[in-house]
C-alpha cells in the first residue's frame, strides 16, 4: 500500500533522511518508531506531498508521491503533529470545509460529518468554536478531519504527543477501533516505545535518517535471543562480576551507573539460580537480581548501540 525506496533529503545542511526504505501492506497499522529528530516526520511529509525528497521514490496506493500528487491527496488522510484546525470555526464547519476541498457536497457531506462527529465522540461539541475544546477533543477532531473523505490510508504524525497518559491510552483504543471500522491502512509515527508496542502490527525503527530494523514488535524482541538479567552489585566489582557471568553463559551487554551489570541469557528463569550461586562462590556481594523479557528499548539499544531515552531527550 505504501512503498518507500531509499528516500534522501537534506535540510539546512542536515541529512534528515539518509536512505529510508520500508513497505506497508494493505490494512495494517504500521509504526515508524524513533527518537525526536530521527526523520519520521520528514518521511511522512514526503509521503503526504507536503515536501519533496532530494532522492529516492515513494508511492501510496500505487500513486507516485511526486508525479501524481492530487491522486495521492485524494487517497490519504493526514493528521499532522500540529493540529491545523481552524480555531475560530466550529468542529462541524472544519469538517465541512475539509470535505468540500476534497470534492464532497450535498447530503453526503452532511451525513459524513455527522457520522464522524459521532464516531470520534464530539457530537455534543460539534457546533462549538474549536478554541474552547480541550486538548483531547481537538485531537479527536484532527483525526476526524483526516478521515472526512473516507481515505484508504491514514497518516498519523505523533498522534498522542501532548496528551496525558489516560487520554493516550484512550486514543490507542480509538485508533485501533477506527482502523477496523474504516478498513484503513495506517502509518503512524511515535517516539513512545509503548505506543509502538501496543498499537502497531509491524514497525520500523528509525534512527538518524535510516531504518535500522523492520518487523513485528514480537519478532524484533524475539530476535534478541534471550532475556536481560540485571545484577546490582553491593561493591563496585564490575569486571569480576562480568567475568563470572560470562563463565555461566550470560553474555555481558552493558553497565549502568557503574554498579548494575546487564547481560543476556537464553532463558532467564532457568539460568538465574546458577548465576547467583556462581557470583556467591566468587565472593561478589549482590544487592539484587532481576530478569526481564526483551523490550523495544533493548531492541533499539541492540540495533543502534545507543540508549533510546538519552537520544530522545538530546534531540
Amino acid at each position: 500500500m505504501i512503498v518507500v525506496e531509499d528516500l534522501r533529503k537534506r535540510y539546512d545542511g542536515v541529512q534528515a533522511l539518509d536512505g529510508v526504505s520500508f513497505e506497508v501492506r494493505e490494512g495494517e497499522v504500521f509504526g515508524l518508531l524513533g527518537p525526536n529528530g530521527a526523520g519520521k516526520s520528514t518521511t511522512v511529509r514526503v509521503l503526504v506531498t507536503l515536501t519533496y525528497a532530494d532522492e529516492g521514490s515513494a508511492s501510496v496506493a500505487g500513486h507516485d508521491v511526486r508525479r501524481e500528487q492530487n491522486a495521492v491527496r485524494r487517497t490519504i488522510g493526514y493528521v499532522p503533529q500540529d493540529s491545523g484546525v481552524d480555531q475560530f470555526g466550529t468542529g462541524r464547519e472544519n469538517l465541512t470545509l475539509q470535505g468540500r476541498v476534497q470534492g464532497m457536497h450535498g447530503r453526503d457531506l452532511r451525513t459524513r460529518a455527522d457520522e464522524l462527529l459521532e464516531l470520534v465522540g464530539i457530537s455534543d461539541a460539534a457546533d462549538r468554536i474549536v478554541k474552547n475544546y480541550s486538548g483531547g477533543m481537538r485531537r479527536r477532531l484532527d483525526i476526524a478531519l483526516g478521515l472526512m473523505h473516507r481515505p484508504r490510508v491514514l497518516f498519523l504524525d505523533e498522534p498522542t504527543t501532548g496528551l496525558d497518559p489516560e487520554a493516550r491510552v484512550a486514543m490507542w483504543d480509538e485508533v485501533s477501533r477506527l482502523a477496523r471500522a474504516e478498513s484503513l491502512t495506517i502509518l503512524l509515527t511515535t517516539h513512545y516505545l509503548e505506543e509502538a508496542d501496543q498499537l502497531t502490527d509491524r514497525l520500523a525503527i528509525v534512527s538518524r535518517g535510516k531504518v535500522v530494523v523492520e518487523g513485528t514488535s514480537a519478532d524484533l524482541k524475539a530476535g534478541l535471543r534471550g532475556d536481560a538479567v540485571q545484577v546490582e552489585l553491593e561493591s563496585g566489582a564490575v569486571e569480576d562480576a562480568q567475568r563470572v557471568l560470562a563463565g555461566v553463559g550470560a553474555t555481558p551487554e552493558q553497565v549502568l551507573d557503574d554498579r548494575i551489570v546487564v547481560s543476556r541469557v537464553e532463558n532467564g528463569g532457568r539460568a538465574l539460580p546458577g548465576i547467583i550461586s556462581a557470583l556467591e562462590g566468587a565472593g561478589i556481594d549482590v544487592a539484587s537480581v532481576s530478569v526481564s523479557r526483551p523490550s523495544l528499548d533493548d531492541v533499539y539499544l541492540h540495533f543502534t548501540g545507543r540508549d533510546f531515552g538519552t537520544e530522545d531527550r538530546a534531540a
Binding site: 507536503l50 492530487n70 491545523g84 484546525v85 470555526g89 476541498v101 470534492g103
Partner: protein
Amino acid sequence: MTVARHTWFMTVRQARNLMREPIWIVLLLVQPMVWLVLYGQLFRNVTRLGGFGTGSYITFLAPAIVVMNAFFGATWSGMAMINDLDHKVVERFLATPASRISIVLSQIVRSAFTAAIQAVVILLVSLALGVRVHTGALGWLVIIVAGILVNSAFAGISQAIALLTRREATMIAVANFIGLPLLFLSTTMIARPQMPGWMQTAARFNPVDWGVRAAREVVLPGTDWGSVAGHLGLLLALSALTAAWATRTFRAYQRSL
C-alpha cells in the same frame, strides 16, 4: 472552476470567523465614520484655498475616505495569512487537493469584500451628512469598485509580504512604513493645485491616488468618464499583478516546506 469554488469556500470561512468577533464588526463600521467626521470637521475651511471643485469639503472628502479606508484595510490583510500559517491551517489544506491559488486568492477576496461593506457604510453616512453623488447610482457603484480595486491591489502586496516574512512584527512595520506616506502623497485630503509640484508628480504614480481620482470624479460635477475608466483600469491591472506576485511567493513558501 475548481479555483472559483475553492476560493469561495475559503472566503466564506474567513468572513464567518470575522463575523464572530463583535468588536471587529463595531470597529469595521465605526472606524470609517471617525475618519469622515474628524477629517471633515478639521479641514472644513480648507476649500477656501480653491481648486477643490466644490465648496463642501465633506463632499470632496467622502469618496476619498472610501479609498483611504480600503487602502489601510489592505495593508493589514496579510495578518490573517500569517495566523493561518502559524496555526498550520495552510499545511492542512496543502495535504488535500485544495486549489493552491485559492488559498491566496481567498485572503484577497475576503479583504476586498470587507472594503466593499465599509464603502457602503461610508456612503450612507455621507448621504446623511449631505453629500450628493453627482452621477447617482452609477457613481456609487464606481466608488465601491474603486475601493475594492485599491484594496485588492494592496492586499496582494500584503499577502506576498506575509508569505515572504511570515512574521507579524515585520508585517506591522511594513504597513506603517507605506501607510501614511502613500496617503499624504495623494489628493485624499487636499486638492491637487494646493500640493507642492513634486508631490503632484509623485501622486501620479500612487495607486491610492488613482482610486481617489476615479471615486471623486463621479461625485463632483463635470465627470470625465475617460479618467474614471483609465484609473480603474490601471488599478485592475495592478491587482492582477500583485495577486500574481502573491501566488508566486506562495509557491516559494511551498518549496521551503
